[in-house]
Amino acid sequence: MPRLILEPRFHVEYLSILDSEGNLDASLEPKLPPGDLKALYRAMVLGRRLDERMVRLQRQGRIGTFAPIKGQEASQMGSVFALRPTDWMVPSFRETAAMIWRGWPIEKILLFFAGYVEGGQPAPDQHDLPITIPVGTQLPHAVGLAYAAQYRGDDAVVMAYFGDGATSEGDFHEALNFAGVWHVPVVFICQNNQWAISVPLKKQTHSKTIAQKALAYGLPGIQVDGNDVLAVYVAAREAVERAHAGEGPTLIECVTYRLGVHTTADDPTKYRAQEEVAAWEQKDPLTRFRAHLEKKDLLEDGVEQRVDEEIAEAVRRFEATPPADPLAVFDHVYAEMPPHLRAQREDLARWLREGAAPGPAATPTPPGATPMRGQRLTRR
């Protein structure tokens, strides 16, 4: 009965293919056709330009608070690019670029942030969950979706997004644990952007990496340069392939940086130094990918302009949305509207129509009921 070291053959890989200087490790480079590379770049540019446009729309009061993605375009596009439409995408609240790639119309995203619940409605054939705001709580949903796909015998993989802050939540650990035990086809994408509002990663976890947290749950974890779209794509594709092949879940930690605010209600100058931001601006995922495409002679002229036009069109459609009908609030509470909601809806309708005060009775006085107090004969 000695004291032994249970030397586990665990390891955590780190993957980088295209560094911030534009140096490429050609041996690791994915064999993506030119069309895919152009599409990736365009989607990243769209994510960046829309983000900038949305900040202005928010400042003008045309949309409400939202969480910008600036700096995280490669983490999002490299990962979501590995999915097929029949796979499932489970976002948190900072995945605008990935959501647009998955088919969410830009105007729907704008509607969502303008306070319209309609903005959360996926298309009937879309295998995407709507934005989830409570941190990390979407991760068990992803595991449940993956279990259901496996139960039905469907060939579908689920990809779930979250940030570094979410890895402190119980739901993150429970989701990884269930995914490991159930061996389901799910890929966890952590966008480690270094800051959970004002709390830096070193105050969030004492682990050297987030990727290594997977090992405790019996699944592989890999850390990638999250500003290198090629590295993110390679890691995501491998994880998706493993999941398709029945080899279970994977955790991918994309090391990236939130170049902007947490949300438009946040002022990061209160908690982080401008030098740190400036250093990460040197690692901008768009700059290096653009240089890479330039070298490959795949950079198209006017991408930015076409993207801006697409955004402008979407903003026009968004602003043509009719005012929200207050009575619609009762529509999707239950499959069938129960009597008390019907009564409340009628009250609201009457109020809007006539300025009548909410009705005194949720239900009418029953017909044939006893007479008023003082008139009836009581036994006592």
Binding site: Y334, H340, P366
Partner: protein, 321 residues
């Protein structure tokens, strides 16, 4: 009542391959109260899942399964532990229909044993239906015996909305009743008038229904009072029509529940009576409930949970008003 619940699960699983069960100890062990007994042997471990011990992920993964189109029936071992998954219930199960504007919904049942009377520890005796009854998008059901348990669990599994299904531990083995072999379902959202009278309305549910019925017997025998007894069955959406109709007839009401008094179902019922039939009231609506304390220990439970004597006393005061 355990056997009646087991039968409902068995018949619904035979009827619909999308129905599956998950929870702690629900498989090999058949659940700590044996409600899921033998179902894993019949339907396999993929359909009757012994999950890891984590309430939030039981409900969270069930939400994901329901979004995919399955119809999970989750067991939370005791309702006192459900606060570890309350966020998944309130933030997600109850809201997905609204959040996705009808694209997704959570057809799922969350079963939990609740209530006192079984000499149990803290977190094993509470009655906390008010939390769920307050959440838009949820349905909250509490059967009062084997037949209503079987019929309502069947309805809950078939219901397109998430249903919180409380099972009284005091009734699990004590309540015995003949039930039909053929599957039967009662509508969710409808109370039953289980005894008719013209002098007084008693409103109760779950284990308190027996207390209400016995109190009605005492009032009949000793006072000659005829009592309407309303078995609520569904806490939310509340069947205001049945309550208001009854109180409109009797003019007097006593509401009984095991949950703490303040902001409990009794408050909503009293307000609904006021809104619905104020001019027919002969006396203020009385509430006989547990006190506003969190946990008393079973050595003091009798002083906290309503019993027949307290209900009779409250009824007599109401009648004498």
């Amino acid at each position: 009542m355990v056997k009646a619940l087991n039968l409902a699960l068995l018949q619904e699983m035979e009827r619909d391959p999308d129905v599956l069960i998950l929870g702690e100890d629900v498989g090999v062990d058949g659940g700590v109260f044996r409600v899921t007994d033998d179902l894993q042997r019949k339907f396999g471990s993929q359909r009757v899942i012994d999950s890891p011990l984590a309430e939030a992920a039981i409900i969270g993964t069930a939400v994901g399964m329901a979004l995919y189109g399955l119809k999970p029936v989750c067991e939370i071992q005791f309702s006192g532990f459900a606060f570890q998954c309350f966020h998944q219930i309130e933030n997600h199960a109850a809201r997905y229909r609204m959040r996705s504007q009808g694209r997704f919904h959570c057809q799922m049942v969350i079963r939990m044993p609740y209530g006192g009377g079984v000499r149990a520890l803290e977190h094993h005796t509470e009655s906390e239906e008010q939390f769920y009854a307050h959440v838009p998008g949820l349905k909250m059901v509490i059967p009062s015996g084997p037949r209503t348990a079987r019929a309502l669990l069947t309805s809950a599994i078939r219901d397109p909305d998430p249903v919180i299904f409380f099972e009284s531990k005091a009734l699990y083995h004590a309540a015995k009743e003949e039930i039909p072999e053929e599957s039967e379902s009662f509508p969710i959202g409808r109370a039953q008038v289980v005894r008719e009278g013209r002098d007084l309305t008693l409103v109760a549910y779950g284990a308190m229904l027996r207390v209400a019925r016995e109190a009605a017997d005492v009032l009949q025998a000793e006072d000659g009072v005829e009592t309407d007894v309303v078995d609520l069955l569904t806490i939310a959406p509340l069947d205001r029509e049945t309550i208001v109709t009854s109180v409109g007839k009797t003019g007097r009401a006593v509401v009984i529940h095991e949950a703490p008094k303040s902001f409990g179902p009794g408050a909503e019922i009293a307000a609904s009576i006021m809104e619905g039939t104020f001019l027919h009231l002969e006396a203020p609506v009385r509430r006989v409930t547990a006190h506003d304390v969190s946990f008393v220990g079973f050595a003091r439970e009798k002083a906290n949970v309503p019993d027949v004597a307290r209900v009779v006393a409250a009824a007599r005061e109401t009648l004498a008003f």
